[in-house]
């Protein structure tokens, strides 16, 4: 029953969505909207589970003085401190907003900025003339990078259109081919769940 009941609920929910999508009665009943509302409630409950797990994990780090336990203290103080602040003056309050905008967003931007350096190190490793495919990737990358920079067209007229052609024709064609297969694969996966064949998410092997 531990696996059959969740599977049954999943199949029922899937059929409800199909009914809403393709049938007049289903659309008028608004079953998908009802399911969306229920999922919001479940989201809240599961967030609490994750919150408790995070607290437990870092509390144990501190209690057992594991390596880096100082960071666990910082996390717990920050997490509960911000929670208390948000409860006191709401999430839109002046101090909560200040911390979010000036600390959290800034750190997120910093992380995003690191990508440029990581791309450079990955490109240094990947763009080497070892195989035919790697050489092709290197040539295409150089053409596109120089073409998209102002210097490309200044050096050789027509470089930018070439880079555009590589991006719009070759690259886009490849991407759409991958997406096509991915969408069909996702459909087949969803079908397996609907038919009860895919049980990995229930903690068991597929049937």
């Amino acid at each position: 029953m531990r696996k059959e009941l969740p599977m049954f609920i999943g199949v029922l929910a899937g059929l409800a969505v199909i009914f809403d999508r393709y049938f007049v009665l289903g659309r008028n009943l608004g079953l998908t909207a009802t399911l969306d509302d229920w999922s919001v409630v479940m989201d809240g409950m599961m967030f609490a589970v994750g919150f408790i797990n995070l607290t437990r994990l870092h509390y144990l780090n501190v209690k057992r003085r594991r390596a880096g336990f100082i960071y666990s203290i910082v996390l717990l103080v920050t997490m509960y401190g911000y929670l208390a602040l948000a409860l006191y003056e709401t999430v839109d309050g002046p101090n909560a907003t200040f911390i979010f905008d000036n600390v959290f967003r800034t750190m997120g931007s910093t992380m995003y900025g690191m990508i440029a350096f990581f791309i450079a190190s990955a490109a240094y490793r990947a763009f080497r003339v070892r195989t035919r495919e790697a050489t092709l990737m290197l040539v295409a990358a150089v053409l596109v990078m120089i073409g998209k920079a102002p210097v490309g067209d200044a050096l050789v007229a027509g470089w930018d259109p070439l880079a555009e052609w590589i991006l719009n024709v070759i690259n886009t064609g490849g991407m759409k081919g991958i997406l096509l297969g991915a969408y069909l694969g996702a459909f087949a996966t969803a079908l397996r769940v609907l038919l009860g064949l895919e049980r990995a998410h229930l903690g068991g092997a597929a049937k």
Partner: protein, 279 residues
């Protein structure tokens, strides 16, 4: 409640319909869904009857999973696995669950530590249960450590920073990234390279595939991740669904060809009109 729902339905707006039952704008799509379902069902029945079903071609990334776990075992370092930033019910995450069970069984068998990190708090309890069950089925329930399955943060870069910290501290020898990723894919791939981990990645996100191809040892591209559950389990029934999916691709290719020819000789997009129920 049901009576109330039906009363609400009666008062609702009339939609253009076919036979008063099916919504006209998506009726042809429904027929195509049923056709696809029929093909898949036929392949499943064929597999169940013991008739030959085409095999899935070799996928190096999935074959490398055993190698990755084995390497981690030899080096005495953990395996890290993550579903990325996908949502709990996304198809990529469903594919991840199948792979997670397989990897967890391997780590249980070889007595290797498995660290599983999550960005989505909904995925965390499901992943924990999958790993716990896998260890139980492998006969090693004592080896399961719930502290190694963790929800780190709901925010993209907080999660990424936390994973970077875990990589610096634990130095996993294998990094498996399977699911839907955004910009953090590059960071995760690079931090894995910096600690010397063998990396197997799979995603349907076309924007992130180039980063994985550049940064990882093995990359599963697009639909290959959906074949994971069939590939690792070798179940004929699941392989049948993959074959059905390939037949669906053949049909779509045919539609593209027909549509391209029509588009060159006609001003109207007939196929689009038919699919959208405009007739």
């Amino acid at each position: 409640m049901l009576k109330g729902l039906f009363l609400m339905a009666e008062a609702a707006e009339e939609l253009p319909s076919v036979l008063g039952i099916f919504i006209q704008s998506v009726f042809v799509q429904f027929i195509l869904v049923l056709a696809f379902l029929g093909i898949v069902y036929m392949m499943i029945q064929r597999a169940r009857a013991g008739l030959p079903v085409p095999e899935i071609r070799k996928i190096p990334g999935l074959d490398a999973l055993d190698e990755a776990v084995g390497r981690a075992t030899e080096m005495g370092r953990p395996v890290h696995i993550t579903p990325g930033l996908g949502t709990v019910g996304a198809a990529e995450t469903l594919a991840f669950y199948a792979l997670l069970g397989h990897v967890a069984k391997l780590t249980a068998k070889y007595d290797t530590r498995l660290i599983q990190t999550n960005r989505n708090y909904l995925i965390y309890p499901i992943a924990e249960e999958i790993i716990r069950q896998a260890y139980l089925e492998a006969g090693r329930p004592d080896a399961f450590n719930a502290d190694d399955v963790m929800w780190l943060s709901d925010w993209q870069w907080s999660y990424t920073a936390a994973v970077m910290g875990i990589f610096r501290a634990e130095r996993p020898a294998a990094n498996i990234m399977f699911g839907y990723f955004y910009a953090e894919s590059m960071v995760l791939a690079e931090i894995g390279n910096q600690v010397g981990a063998i990396q197997v990645a799979g995603t349907t996100s076309t924007a992130q595939l180039p980063f994985f191809v550049a940064g990882c040892d093995y990359t599963l591209i697009g639909e290959e991740i959906y074949a994971a559950s069939a590939y690792v389990s070798k179940e004929p029934v699941l392989t049948g669904t993959v074959v059905g999916q390939d037949w669906g691709k053949v049909f779509v290719f045919a539609m593209i060809l027909v549509g391209t020819v029509i588009a060159n000789f006609s001003e109207t997009n007939i196929i689009k009109d038919i699919l959208n129920g405009v007739w």
